[in-house]
Symmetry: C2
Subunit: 436 residues, 2 copies
């Protein structure tokens, strides 16, 4: 039986999961493949911490070069994370003719074009199923199984930390800061959670999905990105009252020649399937012209689920190696030279319905003033609620609008927030009424 040798860069949580798969399911992998997969080297600067898995002597090294320059190693799993030294190591491995399997969405969202082009030149594959949606087979579904479709839209719940926090706020009525602190204690949020809660991680993933679905190059910094830190339990409660759930949604939409690419807290109808994706689960819903909507969900993060996706990619690369194929299919489904550069629709032209929460002094005439300004900007109101619960201080007034252009809403809010009665910046949350 042929043996295919694999190297692992980065021996953190996910790396440990990968070692567990090799150890526990090695026979299964061999039977699926008709070849042995052997993990021959692990490189990490930390060679002393006990990760709870037994390693053969000499397997772990602090010298990445020993791995990158080993001609026996055909597949490199990159789990260092971040931009550097991951980028340098990956490019070096590619130049050395090694196939790459990575979970590093930040790296690919920032340096994807450089890496994918280098791989095409070297005739090696870059697989990254684990970079989006943890254990859920999203990348391959879009590229391969649904590859005969033109996609019109994709919607994703792509960050487990945010979804966990929003679910807890929903179920417990707890404040954002408290839930975040609790999530950090339980290991569902990082010590510095900025990337997650401000939507940056979700935008990284959306950039990759847009490339795959629409064959177009999007830098993740072109994506409108708004996190969940301003959302309160009160807004989630109001959302319920109107029949909505609140999710941090990644949205990619074809709109003629332009593309909508945005990440923000979004209210979606409660009975929509995406509304039932709770806790650390992730989900993606794509709409193809032939497939119709297809929805995939599962664990979006975690040692085991991410390791599952990585090893699925290793299996695919190993099949290619068995057949002496360099690149079976390009990283984003079509070759880099064929990728287009679609225009991203500016956020102020996006059309949406809106939830607007004003915090006002409880005095006569305020409601009429707000409604008047909204009307002047041609924003039509679907419903309004003013619960009068804390009459002493600022009280919330919530307007749900019909669809309006974002620039009109921004202009109206700029005016409204100047009113004497307005006590704090107005909170705007977009509503997606029709996810197809």
């Amino acid at each position: 039986m042929q043996t295919i040798k694999v190297g692992l860069l980065g021996f953190g949580t996910i790396g440990t999961g990968v070692v567990k798969v090799f150890q526990q399911n090695g026979d299964l992998l061999a039977s699926r493949l008709g070849a042995n997969l052997e993990l021959v080297r692990i490189a990490d600067l930390d060679t002393t911490t006990d990760r709870g898995v037994q390693l053969a002597p000499g397997l772990l090294t602090d010298d990445a070069q020993a791995l990158l320059n080993d001609p026996e190693i055909k597949v490199v799993i990159e789990l260092i994370g971040g931009y550097e030294p991951a980028r340098t190591f990956v490019l070096q491995a590619i130049r050395n003719g090694k196939h790459i399997v990575t979970a590093n969405k930040a790296l690919l969202a920032m340096h994807g074009e450089e890496i994918f082009r280098a791989a095409e030149e070297a005739g090696v594959t870059v697989m990254f199923e684990a970079a989006v949606g943890g254990g859920i087979p999203i990348i391959s579904a879009i590229k391969e199984n649904l590859g005969a479709n033109n996609f019109s839209a994709l919607y994703g719940i792509l960050n487990g930390t945010c979804n966990y926090i929003l679910t807890q706020m929903d179920e417990e009525g707890a404040a954002f800061a408290d839930v975040l602190a609790d999530a950090q204690k339980q290991g569902y949020a990082e010590a510095d959670p900025t990337f997650d809660i401000e939507g940056v991680d979700t935008a990284h993933k959306l950039a990759l999905l847009i490339g795959l679905c629409f064959g177009t190059r999007v830098n993740f910094d072109q994506i409108y990105t708004e996190g969940i830190s301003k959302v309160t339990a009160l807004d989630i409660e109001f959302a319920h009252g109107f029949g909505y759930k609140l999710k941090l949604l990644a949205i990619g939409k074809k709109d003629g020649e332009k593309i909508e690419a945005r990440v923000h807290p979004t209210m979606i109808p409660e009975d929509y399937p995406l509304s039932s994706i709770n806790g650390v689960f992730n989900s993606v819903r794509m709409v193809g012209d032939f497939s119709g909507p297809v929805m995939l969900s599962g664990y979006g993060a975690g040692m085991d689920a991410t390791a599952s996706a990585i090893m699925g990619d290793v299996l695919a690369v190993a099949r290619d190696l068995q057949s002496n194929i360099g690149i079976r299919s390009p990283a984003l489904g079509c070759p880099q030279v064929q990728m287009t550069s679609c225009e991203i629709k500016p956020m102020d032209q996006v059309v949406s319905a809106y939830y607007l929460r004003f915090m006002v002094k409880d005095q006569p005439g305020v409601l009429a003033q707000i409604a008047g300004i909204l009307g002047n900007h041609e924003i039509s109101i679907e419903s309004m609620v003013q619960p009068h619960r804390h009459a002493a201080e600022a009280v919330p007034i919530v307007f749900m609008t019909h669809e309006a252009e974002e620039r009109d809403v921004t202009a109206a809010l700029a005016e409204i927030d100047q009113l004497d009665a307005i006590q704090e910046d107005t909170l705007l949350i977009r509503i997606e009424e029709n996810l197809e």
Copy 2:
């Protein structure tokens, strides 16, 4: 640019969908593939009906042999359906060195071993993504992306007709027969709906999924199969009262060395994601040891969605042809010689909770009699409801039991159904409390 020539056997609804994909998305396929896919021949006995698509002269023939013996054709899409002549034609195509893409679950569930072995001998691929779950990429997810996992369980809503009928009964409170008649009018149910409503189609699909998930051969006639024709709107209403939804569920479970393989109406908790799969949508939930639960959903049938899955397979086979690969991965994920033959757990040993609806004469002591017999058989009751709505005739009494072995329940019901007060056969519906 290389051209890969494809033949289509069977020009019905799905075949027409396939032609539409070739015509509408041919450029997309070419860009993904870096090669042209050309549909060079369609064979169908009916060469006169207008299917609403334009064909080049000479493309359509009534002579399957002209297609099967054309050495230029490298990929054959089989959409004849049923056992014969599909089986004969597929085997002939395989012997002629052609790769097969099929949506024919009946054929594969019955003759899969013969066909897969023939393909392995001939060094060609048999792809069948469209055979299970229409446009949802289930097969490839199990075989490839989740291929590093040992699966413990799979649950599927796999028949759009049944799910449509149950959803309508649920939403409208309508009777089974009325909804079925309506579904037939709307084209959601066949003129002879037996295969669908009696669970046979679901069992065909489950047999394939069990082979893929557990690497074991299951003949579909070993699968316990019970359809939805005995379910009434009353049962669905009772289910709601207890917090359940009623679905025709395909269940495959690893239980030590044995496998549970069963298809039957099943009550599942209302807040489980599978409960939100309504109408003609299908869904599969698989539980891998590393991935955890992964759920995929989308259209389970229909011209366009099925054509999407078929063309995804054609894309994969075309990639193999570009690289001169015969078999990239075996049809069921591991070679036929490595497939095991697990023992199917006999139904009377299956453990489940139960919904039991007794129809009784409204007279004192009946409830105690029933409860007594259940107790004698060590079946413990979780709750009971006796709404007394039609006191003149037979009235329903519903018991929800704790988990019990099926043989005990069967024995108890045999005794209970002998009681004078019992007016009709008792309806038993299994409850899945824990879908993992």
